[in-house]
């Protein structure tokens, strides 16, 4: 209590200096928290994007050959065939779990007087796991739909509204009547698909083409980037052989490996996190330098006063305690203010830009999701600041405590 009173007196005497020190401290903490919060917002938004897809999944598309092979020129268009699906299913059992396929068409979809031109995708039941379709009513495509080529549809809520259709209604795809068996919640970004059974769509709209659409499958056991690359190479070589394409040709079959993408994304996020921390810690460091600087000046300015105190009986420890306590109190108080302001700013960001969506015409995306920092990080940062402030105060304090009273009394 006595000590606090002493400190209060000196703080009162030096409002500007105390204010400036406090500002340096508060600013350091504030910037760290806001920076990390903003970074988290960006990272969370990215994660949300990637979390839409099952990470252990891959999609294969047909492309164009990029190398001449067996007398055929490059630039030949490759379409995946039914036998590619069979190859994928049978020859890679060790790695690939469930194989499905996508076949896309865009027929006129109508219900009564309402109509739409959406993309209709014939899929296998595994699609719901790979692309995370969020069902709100009914069910997704099942194995019986595939086996019996049932004319069923799963449409998005928005489409249901636009078509004025509900679960169980029959709507027309071109000239065929399909039954709505499920309704899902569409993603914010991208045009929503209408899902149907692969066999029905392929059977109705793709009979005169050998194109089997895209192949999608889930897999397991590919833990490292090397594993993934090796598998991709092997798989590509095998499919290339189906189409008489050079084994090394990477243009004929396109692979979209979500797992690989995920790993790269995680790496990028890791780097970003680290960069944010480094910048944040340097900001914090500037606060610490501010504190130590001010403490040095304070001690120098008060040397004469310490001399008086020593002459009348202050022990070195009493002087040390006085300076250190002042340093701790200033950093704690202003560190706390900085922390509170930082958290408040993060919350403000969350409440404002955290909910805005970037509208790119084709899709909408949140740039910022939950741009906040855990309270543990906030407290840790403040603790670091306080400890650093103490050390910063300790050096000049030790110097002041050691100065002999006659030297101190001589100082002005």
């Amino acid at each position: 209590m006595e000590l606090l009173n002493e400190i209060w007196q000196t703080v009162q005497r030096n409002k500007l200096r105390t204010g400036l020190t406090g500002f340096a401290v508060a600013w350091g903490i504030f910037m760290l928290i806001v920076l990390l919060g903003a970074g988290n917002g960006l990272i969370n938004a990215q994660l949300l994007q990637t979390n839409r897809f099952l990470s252990n999944s891959m999609v294969a598309f047909g492309g164009w050959t990029s190398k001449p092979y067996q007398g055929m020129k490059e630039g030949r268009m490759i379409q995946l065939q039914q036998r590619d699906i069979a190859t994928t299913d049978k020859e890679f059992k060790g790695t690939i779990d469930e194989v499905g396929a996508q076949y896309r068409v865009s027929p006129l979809v109508s219900h009564g007087s309402q109509y739409l031109y959406p993309q209709v995708m014939g899929v296998y039941p595994n699609h719901i796991r790979i692309d995370k379709v969020d069902m709100t009513q009914g069910r997704f495509i099942n194995t019986i739909d595939i086996r019996e080529k049932r004319k069923v549809l799963v449409i998005s809520e928005k489409q249901a509204k636009e078509l004025e259709a509900k679960l169980g209604d029959n709507i027309n795809l071109g000239n065929f009547s399909f039954k709505i068996v499920g309704i899902y919640k569409e993603q914010e970004n991208g045009q929503p698909y209408i899902f149907s059974s692969y066999t029905a769509i392929k059977g109705i709209f793709g009979t005169n083409s050998s194109d089997a659409g895209n192949i999608e499958f889930t897999f397991h056991g590919l833990d490292t980037e090397n594993d993934n690359e090796a598998f991709e190479k092997k798989y590509r070589k095998r499919l290339n052989a189906n189409h008489m394409v050079h084994p090394e040709d990477e243009g004929a079959i396109w692979l979209w490996n979500r797992h690989m993408q995920n790993m790269q994304m995680n790496k990028a996020i890791g780097i970003m996190r680290m960069a944010l921390w480094i910048v944040g810690l340097f900001t914090l460091l500037s606060g610490i330098v501010g504190v130590s600087n001010i403490m040095l000046i304070t001690v120098k300015e008060r040397t004469h006063e310490f001399g008086i105190r020593k002459a009348i009986g202050a022990k070195p420890w009493a002087i040390l305690k006085l300076i250190i306590t002042e340093s701790i109190i200033i950093t704690t108080f202003f560190g706390y203010i900085g922390m509170v302001l930082g958290v408040a700013t993060c919350e403000y960001m969350d409440a404002t830009i955290g909910h805005t969506k970037v509208d790119a015409g084709l899709f909408k995306a949140s740039m910022f999701i939950n741009p906040t920092v855990g309270i543990d990080i906030c407290i840790e940062a403040t603790m670091v600041m306080i400890i650093a402030g103490t050390i910063a105060g300790l050096i000049p304090a030790l110097k002041a405590a050691k100065t002999r009273p006659i030297e101190a009394l001589r100082a002005d």
Binding site: K310, I312, G313
Partner: protein, 219 residues
């Protein structure tokens, strides 16, 4: 009270300076002594050694029967606090503390409770006729008042000895006389041992014994 035997002190700078060359001095309890000498004679160094603010190279210094030699800063602070009261030429009051807070400070370092030391400080201020000025800051006081606050601060721990370094050096002649009267009365009525360093013969004249120091030795 004070026993000095062959005290030597040399400052080691660019050129070693032998300031005190074997000082022998005894001051009894209740004495009112002045130390006179020209500047550079070593009188301030002697006072610093007496006040345990500085150490000496060789010799014996006993204060109230306690050998003062090679003390840690902690121990020195304790001895200063309990045995010595300082009066400085430039008062050396802490200017962001009120008169009463300045007087209290030595007791703060003794760990005396806030209430008790405040009470005691007010008593001493009253004794020196400054009760009405207790809550004033040093910059609101005249030179004589400041020095009286400093005297109260020196007295409050009930020290063995008061050491005054040019106590009237910063005061006009009228207040100088007042302050000297005060110190003289403290000696006469309360038998407080005092050592006053001065170069003012007028001040020295009022003490009971004058010690003249020249070139580091007592004449």
């Amino acid at each position: 009270m004070i026993h000095l035997e062959n005290i030597n002190k040399t400052y080691f700078g660019a050129q070693p300076l032998h300031v005190l060359k074997g000082i022998n001095l005894d001051i009894e309890a209740g004495e009112f002594v002045s130390i006179m000498g020209a500047s550079g004679s070593g009188k301030s160094t002697l006072l610093n050694i007496l006040g345990i603010l500085d150490n000496y190279d060789s010799g014996i210094y006993e204060l109230a029967g306690t050998r003062i030699w090679n003390l840690s800063e902690r121990k020195a602070a304790e001895y200063r606090n309990h045995m010595i009261g300082f009066i400085f030429q430039s008062f050396n009051l802490i200017n962001f503390k009120t008169a009463v807070e300045n007087v209290e400070l030595p007791l703060f370092y003794q760990g005396v409770s806030r209430k008790k030391r405040h009470q005691l400080a007010l008593e001493y201020l009253e004794k020196l006729g400054l009760l009405d000025w207790a809550e004033h800051y040093p910059n609101e006081l005249s030179g004589g008042q400041k020095q009286r606050v400093a005297i109260a601060r020196a007295l409050i721990t009930n020290p063995k000895i008061i050491l005054a370094d040019e106590p009237t050096g910063a005061l006009d002649s009228k207040t100088s006389v007042e302050v000297m009267e005060l110190l003289k009365n403290l000696n006469k009525e309360e038998h407080i041992t005092q050592v006053i360093v001065t170069h003012d013969p007028g001040v020295a004249q009022q003490t009971n014994r004058i010690i003249r120091i020249k070139d580091g030795v007592i004449e």
